[in-house]
């Protein structure tokens, strides 16, 4: 059995065929390629079947250098990941996680992995040991360097319900940013564009938080697929401010693709969301890094 072939025709079920998925030119801006404790490289290779099967054109891993649990601590597989980012550059890119609790060390890591390495951006992970969110002044030197490098800036955000009294965001981890933190940071850097990850965690609230801040884009991976969520985000923000992520392998491409495929977006807008918007955002650093791509 050809592992890329579908046994039945998806078009018979109101779904795009694999050819149509390929034609969407899907760039997965939220790829947990190496986010495994025991065998990160094995996970990466095992997941490639699904990358190819679902027609993903480019995967952008969030774990280039260190791990999400310890972004600034070198990982044993760092060299292998770095080599893969060079060897597989036709379809694989990386952004490197940083920790605003340690701005100097974060900048040093950006120098190593972006200026002198293959990466195209940075990621703020979901919490940190010093409890420093992305709105803290610590972040300013990080953002200034990212701007100089033309790096993309992805910020994990959530609004977990919890606390006493219970409320959205009061269940977040120490240092886990909210969409409000992203807006506060984006106001200080109005000429820099930021990606607010996970649609703020709670999309009904997160979308409205970032709406007035035009230099904030919204990525909506890593949460359950809620019918109507992408339509809502497109109405409030415009399709130009949405970027797609797959969040695999912990999330299913089926989950994340369905969010867009169920929406009422036009074909042209789907092309933007699935990859066009991110390619425009990342074009300067893709060119700087010599990564082959077509807008």
């Amino acid at each position: 059995m050809d592992p890329l072939a579908f046994a039945l025709n998806p078009a018979d079920y109101g779904l795009p065929t694999r050819e149509q998925l390929v034609a969407y030119r899907i760039w997965d801006t939220h790829f947990h390629g190496f986010n495994a404790t025991t065998d990160p490289l094995g996970q990466f290779h095992a997941n490639n079947l699904y990358v190819r099967r679902m027609g993903i054109e480019r995967s952008i891993t969030l774990e280039a250098g260190g791990t999400l649990r310890a972004p600034l601590q070198p990982a044993t597989h760092d060299a292998a990941v770095r080599a893969l980012l060079v060897k597989e550059r036709s379809w694989l890119s990386g952004i490197t996680p940083i920790d605003p609790g340690f701005p100097d060390e974060s900048c040093a890591k950006m120098e190593a992995w972006i200026r002198r390495g293959p990466c195209i951006g940075i990621k703020y992970v979901g919490g940190n040991s010093r409890g420093i969110s992305c709105s803290h002044p610590n972040n300013d030197p990080i953002i200034r360097l990212a701007t100089e490098l033309e790096a993309t800036i992805y910020i994990h955000t959530w609004l977990k319900v919890g606390g006493t009294p219970r409320g959205p965001g009061r269940g977040n981890l120490p240092g886990e940013s909210t969409p409000q933190d992203v807006v506060a940071l984006a106001r200080r850097f109005p000429d820099v564009r930021f990606i607010c990850g996970h649609s703020g965690g709670d999309w009904e609230l997160g979308v409205r938080v970032v709406r007035p801040q035009p230099n904030v884009l919204l990525e909506f991976a890593g949460s359950d697929p809620h019918s109507g969520a992408v339509d809502f985000a497109a109405r409030e923000l415009g399709a130009e401010r949405l970027v797609w992520g797959g969040h695999g392998p912990s999330r299913s491409y089926a989950t994340e693709l369905a969010k867009v495929l169920e929406s009422d977006l036009s074909h042209a807008d789907r092309l933007k969301v699935f990859g066009g918007n991110f390619r425009h955002l990342a074009a300067p650093i893709l060119r700087r890094q010599g990564i082959p791509f077509e807008l």
């Binding site: 078009a11 959530w158 009904e204 299913s252 060119r287």
Partner: protein, 306 residues
């Protein structure tokens, strides 16, 4: 400036080329197919849809005619429908009556009503009787947590026994939405599946299906349910790339799969989830046609004949 070197895109295009003409021609065909031909693609039995208003926001397809049209567009030929009213309403007799009427009025042969009883409310056995005898429902759906009981409730064994005696299917919903995005006023317990195991062992004739169930992190509850009971499952909560295939296909060296393919049914969790999510899961995992037929309709037909 764009670069001419695009090996990845070229690879994708080349691997997509086989059958592309036929597939694209089909994709552009009229959306209303003619009467099914003998070799027509199989229809799907969706064992997990829910009618009426979700209590916390309007859903895109919460109007039944719109939901039915949406399901038909995706070749879903039968849908087992519960009611969102059963989550918080106290008058479940009224909720069940409205569900039965809605399925008759708008279902057009597609919707099969699954009413509900609430073990925490009085006279639930009469609700069960009405669902079966008056509304001719093929089964019931429970929403533990929302209905303020969990699976250690002392009456659950009796409910399982009564549904078995009447030949009813009992569906149990383990989660409706991610607790991280619950309305702050809502504080629901995590539903522990383990009390089900001895109850189902004592009632082997029971036909119980777990909805939106992934099991605990260690997988011990899923394993116990698979090994010691005859419970059925749907896969709307089986998250992760290829997860469906990984759970039902033999492992390396022909190792037994975690869940027998014969006990897994299609469930979309629409209209809360997009119908497309469940459909795409069928194609994401490399499954052969026989397995797809089993998941799409054959297993459901064994649990509930047409």
């Amino acid at each position: 400036m764009n670069t001419p070197s695009l090996p990845r895109r070229r690879f994708l295009r080349q691997t997509a080329a086989a059958g592309a003409v036929v597939a694209l021609a089909r994709a552009g065909a009229p959306t209303s197919p003619p009467a099914p031909a003998p070799d027509a693609p199989p229809g799907i039995v969706d064992t997990h849809v829910t009618l009426f208003r979700w209590p916390f926001r309007r859903l895109k397809y919460d109007a039944t005619p719109a939901l039915v049209a949406k399901l038909r567009r995706h070749r879903i030929t039968e849908a087992w429908a519960g009611t969102h009213e059963a989550l918080l309403h106290k008058d479940l007799a009224g909720a069940n009556e409205r569900l039965a009427a809605e399925c008759r009025a708008h279902g057009a042969g597609l919707l099969r009503p699954f009413g509900s009883v609430n073990l925490a409310w009085p006279d639930w056995e009469e609700d069960l009787r009405r669902c079966h005898e008056e509304h001719r429902m093929p089964g019931l759906r429970l929403f533990p947590g929302y209905q303020t009981f969990d699976l250690s409730h002392p009456d659950l064994g009796r409910l399982i026994q009564l549904t078995a005696e009447r030949g009813l299917i009992l569906q149990i919903v383990f989660q409706m939405e991610d607790p991280r995005v619950h309305h702050p006023l809502l504080s629901l317990p995590v539903i522990d599946a383990r009390p089900l195991v001895p109850l189902l062992e004592r009632t082997p004739a029971a036909r119980v299906q777990l909805l939106h169930f992934a099991g605990n992190v260690a997988g011990t509850d899923l394993r116990a349910l698979v090994d010691r009971t005859g419970a059925w499952f749907e896969f709307s909560r089986w998250e992760g790339n290829g997860r469906l295939g990984q759970l039902i296909r033999p492992g390396p060296g022909g190792a037994r799969p975690p869940v027998p393919e014969s006990r897994v049914l299609f469930g979309s969790h629409a209209p809360y989830f997009p119908v497309e999510t469940g459909l795409l899961r069928l194609f994401e995992s490399p499954l052969d046609a026989e397995t797809l037929h089993a998941l799409m309709h054959r297993n459901a037909r064994r649990l509930l004949p047409a």
